[in-house]
Symmetry: C2
DNA sequence: GTTTTAACGGTTCCATGGTTCCGTTAAGGT
DNA sequence: ACCTTAACGGAACCATGGAACCGTTAAAAC
C-alpha cells in the first residue's frame, strides 16, 4: 500500500515525467506571453505541450500552481552579470538588461503575467520572491565590488542598491505605464547610484 | 428607432442607474479585497450589490471592465496631501500614506487586485495609469514648493520625485515581498530626496 | 400627470472548463 | 529481462459561468 499524500511526479521524476514537465512549462510560458494571466487555459497549455489535459490538471491543478512551478524553473536558469569596474556602469548595464527583458515581446508579457499571478496566490508569490531574491543576489556582487573599491560608504546594503535600480522600472511597467526606454534605465541607475553614494542604503 | 451602439447607463444615468453603479462598484471593491483578482465572480458581485446578475453582465461584461470602471470611480475621490515646509518631511508623509494604504486589510488586497487586472487588459491599464497620474500630480505640489524654497536644483521634475518615493514601495508589494513598514517608508522618502538633491531628476 | 422606452432582474438555456474513469505506457527496482 | 505501479492520456461526464429571453420598473421628456 502506498502512502496517499504524495504529489504526482515525485516518485518517478525521470524520463517521461521530466519531458512532460519541460514541455508543459515551455507551453505555459508561451501561453502566458500570448494571452496573459487571465487568459491562461490549462487545456490550451496541454494542447500546446502535446500532452493530455488530464496530466496538466493532475500535476498542477490550478493556473497559479502551474505558474509557481514555472517560476521555480525560471529561478534555476541564471543569467550572468557584467563587471565593468565602475558602479554606475554596472548599474546601467543592469537597468538596461531589465528594460530589455520587460520590453521583450515574449518576456515582457510573461513577467507581467507571473507578477499578476503572484498577487492572486501566496504559493506563487513565494516562488516569485525566491526568483527575485536570486536575481538580486547575482547582481549584488557589483555593489560589493564598488564597496571594496571605496566607491560607496561602508555598511551600504548591496541588495538594496540593486533593488533601487529595478524598482522604478517595475513601477513603470506595472503602475504608471510610463515608457521603458534607455532614458528610463539611465535614470534608474543614476538615481540608485546617487542615493547609494549619499549613504541612504547604509545598514 | 434608437441608435444601436450606445452603452447601457449612458442615456438615463440618474436615479436607479446611479444607485446600481454605486452599489456594484462598492461590492466589486469588497469582492476584490476578499478574493483577489482571479477570484472575482460577477454573479457574486451582483449578489453582494443586491442587483440582478444580468445587470452586471450587461453593463460591465467582464471582470476587467468592471475593475476599469472602479478605477475611474476611485480616481474621482481625491485625498489631500500634507505640507510641512520641508521636502523630506513631505515625502515621508507621502511614503507613510502609501505604506498605510498598501498594508490596509482592505485597500492592500484591493490595490494588488486592480494592478493585476491592469496587466491583463489595456483598457483597465489606461484607467490605472490615469488614477496614478492624478495621485502623483496631487503630491507633486510639495516638490514644486521645495523647488521654490531652493531646496532642489532648478529644472527638477516634480512628478518624477513623487514616483521615486512610491516605486520602491510598490516594488516590495508586487515583486520582492519585502516588508512594508515605517522603515521602508523612510528609506523610500530618503533615497528619493537624496537623488533629487543630487540633480538626478533634472529635466 | 402621462407617455415613452432605458435599464433592471428573474428564469432558462448552453457552452466550456475542469473532474472522473479506466485502460495504456514506461520508470525504477530486482 | 521482468515485475510493479507511477504517471500518462483519451473519452465520457458534470458543474458552473455567462448569454438570451422577456416581462417589470422607473428615468427623462412633455
Amino acid at each position: 500500500m502506498t502512502s496517499e499524500g504524495v504529489e504526482p511526479g515525485t516518485v518517478r521524476p525521470g524520463g517521461r515525467t521530466a519531458r512532460v514537465r519541460e514541455s508543459v512549462l515551455r507551453a505555459a510560458g508561451d501561453a502566458l506571453a500570448e494571452h496573459g494571466f487571465d487568459g491562461l487555459d490549462l487545456a490550451d497549455v496541454a494542447r500546446r505541450a502535446e500532452v493530455g489535459k488530464t496530466t496538466v490538471y493532475r500535476r498542477w491543478s490550478t493556473p497559479t500552481g502551474l505558474i509557481a512551478d514555472l517560476l521555480d524553473d525560471m529561478a534555476e536558469q541564471s543569467s550572468p552579470r557584467t563587471d565593468t569596474g565602475s558602479l554606475l556602469e554596472d548599474l546601467r548595464a543592469n537597468a538596461q538588461l531589465v528594460v530589455k527583458t520587460l520590453t521583450d515581446p515574449r518576456q515582457g508579457p510573461l513577467f507581467r503575467s507571473v507578477i499578476a499571478a503572484a498577487t492572486c496566490d501566496p504559493r506563487t508569490a513565494e516562488s516569485l520572491h525566491r526568483f527575485y531574491a536570486i536575481r538580486i543576489k547575482e547582481w549584488a556582487g557589483c555593489v560589493t565590488a564598488a564597496l571594496e573599491r571605496g566607491e560607496l560608504p561602508a555598511g551600504t546594503d548591496p541588495d538594496e542598491v540593486i533593488r533601487a535600480v529595478s524598482a522604478p522600472l517595475y513601477y513603470r511597467l506595472l503602475v504608471t505605464g510610463d515608457p521603458l526606454d534607455a532614458a528610463a534605465a539611465d535614470l534608474a541607475a543614476g538615481s540608485a547610484a546617487a542615493a547609494a553614494r549619499a549613504g541612504e542604503y547604509v545598514r
